[in-house]
C-alpha cells in the first residue's frame, strides 16, 4: 500500500458517514492495511471507554420531583403576578370611571344622589345618638359578622384559584 487513508476519513468511516463509494474503498483498504486498521481500532477503543464511563454514571434520583416542584413554584408566582395585574387594572378602571362620572352630566345627578345619601347617613347618625348604647353595639356586632363572612369567602376563593393554577 503506497497511500494510507487520512485519519479524518477513517474517523468518518467508523460512523458510516462517507459516501457509498468511499465507504467501499475504505473497507477494501482496511482489509489489506494493518496500519490503518489499528487507527480505526484506536478510535473505536476511545469511543467505547467514553461510553463505558458515561453509562456507569450514577444519575441522582428525585430530579423529576425537583423539576415538577420548580414548575409549580413558577406557575404559582405567575398566578400571583396575574392577580396583582388584575387588581391594578381594576383600580385604574374604577378611577377613570369616577373621573368620567364627575365630569359628565351624569356626574351632576350622581352628586345629587350622593348628597341625598349623605343626608340619610347624617340622619342615621342623629338617630344613633338618640338610640340607646345597646342598639349601637348590636348594629356594630352585626356589621362585624357580615365582614368576617365575606373575608372567609374571599380567602376560600383565592385558595381554590391557586389550586387550579398548580400545573
Amino acid at each position: 500500500m503506497q497511500y494510507h487513508i487520512p485519519q479524518e476519513r477513517l474517523s468518518a468511516y467508523i460512523d458510516g458517514e462517507l459516501v457509498p463509494e468511499e465507504m467501499e474503498a475504505t473497507r477494501r483498504h482496511l482489509n489489506q492495511c494493518q496500519e490503518c486498521m489499528s487507527v480505526v481500532e484506536s478510535y473505536q477503543a476511545v469511543g467505547s471507554s467514553v461510553r463505558a464511563l458515561l453509562d456507569s454514571l450514577y444519575v441522582p434520583e428525585g430530579i423529576e420531583a425537583t423539576v415538577l416542584q420548580r414548575l409549580e413554584m413558577m406557575s404559582g408566582s405567575r398566578q400571583t403576578r396575574h392577580l396583582f395585574e388584575v387588581y391594578l387594572a381594576g383600580m385604574a378602571v374604577a378611577f377613570f370611571g369616577m373621573m368620567l362620572l364627575i365630569i359628565s352630566p351624569i356626574g351632576r345627578f350622581v352628586r345629587v344622589v350622593f348628597r341625598l345619601l349623605a343626608a340619610m347617613l347624617h340622619g342615621l347618625l342623629m338617630m344613633s345618638s338618640v338610640l340607646q348604647l345597646v342598639w349601637i353595639v348590636g348594629v356594630g356586632a352585626f356589621m362585624f359578622v357580615v365582614l368576617g363572612i365575606s373575608l372567609v369567602g374571599i380567602r376560600r376563593m383565592l385558595h381554590s384559584i391557586q389550586k387550579e393554577a398548580v400545573l
Partner: protein, 178 residues
C-alpha cells in the same frame, strides 16, 4: 424511540402533567449523562438537567413533530450546558474537578481506566466533549449533530475527528506514565 414514547410526547404536548412527569423519568438519564459529559461535575449536571426540563416544558408546544424529540431534547440539553460553562467561566477561574458520582459496575470495574478517561475528558474543550458525547453515547449521525450543535456537517466531522485524536493521545500518554 418507540411508539409509546411518541404517544407520551403527544400527551405531554397537550399539557397533561402526569405525561410530562413520565417523560422526565424516561429521559432523565439521557439528559443527565449528556450534560455531565460536557460539564464534568455532578452538582452542575443536576442543575442543568433541571434547567433543561424546565425549558422543555415551556417550549414543548412549539415542537412540530414528536418524532424529532430526542434531537430537540439533546439540542436543548447541550445548549443549556454550554451556556452554563460560558457563564461559570466568567464567574470562576478554575473548573471544578469532579471524580464522584459513579457506581461500580461489573463490566466497568477498572478504576484506573475510569480515572484516565475522566482526566482525558477534563482536558478537552466543552465543544469537543459535546461532540464526543453525542456520537459515542447517543449515536446521533452527523446530520443530527449538526442540527443539535448548530454548525455545518463538515464542522461536526472535523470536530469529532479532533476530539477523538486528542482523547487517544491523552489516554496513551496516561498509560505511558503509569
Amino acid at each position: 424511540m418507540n411508539e409509546s414514547d411518541v404517544a407520551l410526547i403527544r400527551a405531554a404536548m397537550s399539557g397533561r402533567s402526569e405525561s410530562f412527569s413520565t417523560l422526565v423519568t424516561h429521559y432523565r438519564n439521557f439528559v443527565y449523562r449528556t450534560v455531565y459529559g460536557i460539564l464534568r461535575n455532578a452538582a452542575d449536571a443536576e442543575d442543568v438537567t433541571q434547567e433543561t426540563f424546565i425549558k422543555v416544558y415551556q417550549s414543548l408546544k412549539g415542537l412540530r413533530q414528536p418524532e424529532t424529540f430526542p434531537t430537540w431534547l439533546a439540542r436543548t440539553a447541550v445548549r443549556t450546558a454550554l451556556n452554563w460553562v460560558e457563564k461559570s467561566n466568567r464567574s470562576r477561574a478554575a473548573p471544578l474537578e469532579g471524580n464522584i458520582g459513579y457506581v461500580q459496575r461489573d463490566e466497568y470495574r477498572s478504576t484506573q481506566i475510569r480515572i484516565d478517561v475522566e482526566n482525558a475528558l477534563n482536558q478537552l474543550s466543552p465543544e469537543h466533549r459535546a461532540v464526543i458525547v453525542l456520537r459515542e453515547l447517543h449515536g446521533f449521525n452527523y446530520e443530527e449533530m449538526a442540527r443539535i450543535l448548530e454548525v455545518p456537517v463538515g464542522t461536526v466531522r472535523s470536530r469529532l475527528f479532533n476530539a477523538r485524536t486528542k482523547l487517544r493521545q491523552l489516554l496513551s500518554d496516561e498509560r505511558g506514565d503509569a
